[in-house]
């Protein structure tokens, strides 16, 4: 698992639990959330280190 990518098992879980119509849209929204959380975490960490 890449540190900047969501876990593959989560992607797989979404793929099996959502319809094809919803999968792309929902996983895209969650990926945006994930990236925002990662950036926020990195910023918090850098503030803490200072």
């Amino acid at each position: 698992m890449n540190a900047m990518e969501p876990p593959r098992w989560a992607e797989r879980l979404l793929r099996v639990s959502l319809s094809l119509r919803d999968y792309e849209v929902v996983s895209g929204d969650l990926l945006e959330d994930f990236n925002e959380a990662v950036v926020a975490g990195v910023l918090r960490q850098s503030t803490f280190v200072k």
Binding site: E24, S27, L30, L31, E32, N35
Partner: protein
């Protein structure tokens, strides 16, 4: 995630209004509006109203994620993504929302975004909910005595 298919909402029909099995031609005057007998199954729930209003508020930016964030801001609580997406789907199936797919941006791995906008029946439904709420509160002097305060 797909909600079961519901009958299309019948809202804002000034001439005939079907409520359950009966047709109600007679409405009651509330201010300048006329309120028809709305069956519980046809009326909007609070969360549905919140979702429709979020879509209206966000206008051109109304897709899943901003809608969820706006709902959390307005309702003052966490909103589960599942509940929000299911409600958006249900409102679209009822004909109250219209969606369109747009190609995704790099920050979402190129995955498509589904943007929503209010259909004319969605606007009617919101309007009707607003009038109905006003009708419910009309004449109520809200100074309840709390016995167990």
């Amino acid at each position: 995630m797909r909600a079961r298919r519901l009958a299309p909402a019948r809202v804002g029909r000034p001439e005939h209004y079907y409520s359950g099995s009966e047709c109600c031609e007679e409405g009651i005057e509330v201010g300048r509006a006329k309120v028809y007998n709305v069956g519980m199954a046809e009326s909007l729930g609070t969360f549905e109203q919140a979702v429709l209003l979020s879509v209206h508020r966000l206008s051109e930016r109304a897709y899943g994620r901003p809608v969820i964030k706006d709902l959390e801001l307005r309702l003052g609580r966490r909103v589960s993504a599942g509940a929000a997406y299911a409600t958006l789907n249900r409102l679209e199936e009822r004909g109250l929302l219209i969606s369109r797919l747009e190609p995704g941006a790099p920050e979402r791995g190129g995955r498509a975004r589904r943007f929503y906008r209010l259909a004319s029946s969605g606007i009617d439904a919101l309007d009707e909910s607003r009038v109905l709420t006003a009708a419910l509160w009309r004449g109520v002097k809200w100074r309840p005595k709390r016995r167990f305060a």
